[in-house]
C-alpha cells in the first residue's frame, strides 16, 4: 500500500471503516455475480437492493418498520419501568432483595425466545404476545444494572443526604436513582440490542406484520433479494436505534459523568 494512503487511513478511522465495508461489499458482489451466479439463492448486493425496491413500496416498508418499532417501544418501556423500579429497590432494601432475587434469578436462564409458545397460549397471536416477549428480554439486563448501580452508590453520598435529612422514599428517588443512572444507562443499551433480536424472532415465528415477518414473507414468495434487503434493514435500524439511545445518554448522564 502506498505510504500516503496508509497514512491517511491511519489518521481517519471513518475512512478506514468505510474502506472495510466497501471491500466486503465488493467481494460479495464479485462472488455472487461471477462465482455463484444464481440470483435466486444468493443475489449480489446490488441485485438485492434493486429487486427489493421494485417489489416493495416505501409505504409497505415503512409500515413494517413502524409496527416493529412500536412493539419494541412498548416492551422496552415496560421493561425499563419495571426493571429500574425493582432493581433500585432490590439494591437498597434488603428485604425486597431477599424476596425477589431468587425468583428473578430462577427465570433469568430461560431465553426470552423460549417464552414465545407460552406467550401465544396466554396472549394469542396479537401484539400482546410480542410485547410480552420483548419485555422479558429487556427486563433482565435493566434490572441487573439498576440493582448493581443502586447497591454500589458510594456510602458518602448516602451519608451526605442523611445529614440533610433526606430519608426513605425521598432518598431512593432523589439520590439513589440519579446516582445509579450511569449503570442503568449501560443496561438500557444492552436491553435495546436484545430487544431487536427478540422482536425479529418473535415476528418470524408468529406475526402478520413487522420486519421479521417481511423476511419470512419474502422467503415464502421466493424473493431472496427482498429477504436479504429486509435483513440488512433490520440491522441498520437497530444500529440507528442504538445510536439514538447513546446520544440521549451522552446528553443527559454524559454531562456529569464521562461516559
Amino acid at each position: 500500500m502506498a505510504p500516503p494512503l496508509r497514512a491517511r487511513l491511519a489518521a481517519s478511522p471513518a475512512l478506514a471503516g468505510a474502506l472495510g465495508v466497501a471491500l466486503l461489499l465488493l467481494a460479495w458482489e464479485v462472488a455472487a455475480r461471477l462465482l455463484w451466479r444464481d440470483p435466486a439463492t444468493l443475489p449480489a448486493p446490488s441485485e438485492a437492493v434493486l429487486v427489493a425496491l421494485r417489489l416493495l413500496t416505501p409505504g409497505e416498508i415503512a409500515m413494517h418498520v413502524l409496527i416493529s418499532l412500536g412493539r419494541i417501544l412498548a416492551g422496552f418501556t415496560l421493561a425499563a419501568v419495571a426493571g429500574i423500579t425493582l432493581g433500585v429497590l432490590c439494591g437498597r432494601v434488603a428485604a425486597v432483595e431477599r424476596l425477589l432475587r431468587p425468583f428473578v434469578e430462577a427465570f433469568r436462564p430461560v431465553p426470552p425466545l423460549a417464552w414465545i409458545p407460552i406467550a401465544i397460549v396466554w396472549f394469542g397471536l396479537g401484539e400482546a404476545s410480542k410485547v410480552f416477549v420483548i419485555f422479558l428480554g429487556a427486563f433482565f439486563p435493566i434490572w441487573t444494572s439498576a440493582w448493581r448501580g443502586a447497591a454500589l452508590v458510594p456510602q458518602v453520598l448516602l451519608d451526605s443526604a442523611r445529614s440533610m435529612e433526606v430519608r426513605g422514599p425521598a432518598l431512593l428517588f432523589r439520590v439513589v436513582l440519579p446516582a445509579s443512572l450511569p449503570d442503568i444507562a449501560v443496561g438500557l443499551r444492552v436491553a435495546l440490542g436484545l430487544s431487536f433480536g427478540v422482536l425479529v424472532a418473535a415476528e418470524l415465528i408468529a406475526a402478520e406484520r413487522g420486519m421479521g415477518r417481511l423476511v419470512m414473507q419474502a422467503r415464502e414468495l421466493g424473493q431472496m433479494g427482498v429477504a436479504i434487503f429486509a435483513i440488512f434493514l433490520i440491522g441498520i435500524i437497530s444500529l440507528l436505534a442504538d445510536q439514538q439511545l447513546s446520544a440521549i445518554i451522552r446528553r443527559s448522564v454524559g454531562r456529569w459523568r464521562p461516559v
Binding site: 491511519a10 444468493l42 432475587r101 425466545l113 423460549a114 420486519m211 429486509a230 442504538d242
Partner: protein, 258 residues
C-alpha cells in the same frame, strides 16, 4: 443466604404454588393456559419416560439441541479467535473491520433463518449455521477487544526487557487477553443457546425449542412449561460449567470478578 433469609422467598414460592393449584382446581385458571404444578410433575415424567411428541424422549430433545449448539459454537470459536487476534493486533485492520463487526453483531441472527433454510436445507445444517453466525460475531468482538485492552504498561515492560515481538504476542498479550477472551466465550455460548431455541421453533420436531413449540400446537402447554424449565436448567448448567472451567484455566484471576 442463611436459613433465616431463605424463609421469605420460600414461603412466597410455596404460597404461589398452592394458590396456583387451588385456582386451577376451583376453575379460575383454565388448565390449558395455566396447568397447575401437580400436572407439571406428571408431564415431566411423561416427557422423560414416554416422550413427546410421538415417543421422543426428553433426553433425545436435549441431546439434539446440545449437539447443534456445540457444533455451531465450536466452528464459530475456531474462526473467530484467530481472526480476532489478527484484527486486534493490527490497528489498521481493526479500524477497517470495526463497522463490519458492529454491523454483523447488529444483524438479528434469527432473521437469517429463512435464508439459511434455502441455502442449507431443513436438516441440521441451517441450525448449525445460525448458531455459528450468532456466536461468531460475539466471540470476534470480544477477542478483538481483549487484545486491544491489554494493559499497555505490560507491553512496555516487555519491550524494555528486549522481548522479541513474537514472544510479546505469545507470552504477554495472549495470557493478558485470556480472561476477556474467556468471558467472550461464555457470552458466545449463551448467545448460541438463545439462538438455537429460536431456530428450532421453525420446521423441526426434535430439539428443546421444537418441543415447546410443538407442544403448543397439541394444546399441551404443560409440556411447554416443563420444556421451558429444562431449557432454563440447561442454560444455567452451561454457564456454571464454563465459569468453573474459567476458574481452573486462569488461577491468577481467582477472587476477582470479570
Amino acid at each position: 443466604m442463611n436459613a433465616r433469609h431463605a424463609l421469605p422467598p420460600l414461603a412466597l414460592l410455596a404460597a404461589l404454588l398452592l394458590g396456583w393449584e387451588a385456582a386451577a382446581a376451583a376453575g379460575w385458571l383454565t388448565p390449558i393456559r395455566f396447568p397447575p404444578p401437580s400436572r407439571l410433575a406428571t408431564s415431566f415424567r411423561e416427557l422423560a419416560l414416554e416422550g413427546f411428541p410421538f415417543g421422543a424422549f426428553l433426553s433425545t430433545h436435549v441431546v439434539a439441541t446440545l449437539r447443534r449448539v456445540l457444533a455451531g459454537y465450536l466452528i464459530a470459536v475456531a474462526l473467530a479467535v484467530p481472526l480476532g487476534l489478527l484484527i486486534g493486533a493490527s490497528p489498521l485492520l481493526d479500524r477497517m473491520a470495526s463497522p463490519v463487526v458492529a454491523f454483523g453483531r447488529s444483524i438479528a441472527t434469527l432473521s437469517l433463518l429463512p435464508l439459511a433454510l434455502v441455502w442449507f436445507g431443513t436438516e441440521e445444517a441451517p441450525k448449525v449455521f445460525l448458531i455459528g453466525f450468532g456466536c461468531f460475531w460475539v466471540m470476534l468482538s470480544n477477542v478483538i477487544a481483549a487484545i486491544k485492552l491489554v494493559d499497555p504498561v505490560l507491553l512496555r515492560a516487555a519491550r524494555s526487557m528486549d522481548t522479541p515481538p513474537r514472544d510479546i504476542f505469545l507470552r504477554v498479550m495472549l495470557p493478558a487477553a485470556l480472561p476477556r477472551i474467556a468471558a467472550g466465550a461464555r457470552m458466545a455460548l449463551g448467545m448460541g443457546f438463545v439462538v438455537i431455541v429460536g431456530a428450532e421453533m421453525i420446521g423441526t420436531s426434535i430439539g428443546l425449542g421444537a418441543l415447546i413449540m410443538e407442544a403448543r400446537t397439541f394444546y399441551r402447554s404443560d409440556i411447554t412449561m416443563v420444556g421451558m424449565a429444562c431449557i432454563g436448567a440447561i442454560g444455567f448448567a452451561l454457564t456454571a460449567l464454563l465459569g468453573l472451567l474459567e476458574a481452573r484455566l486462569m488461577p491468577w484471576r481467582r477472587g476477582r470478578q470479570t
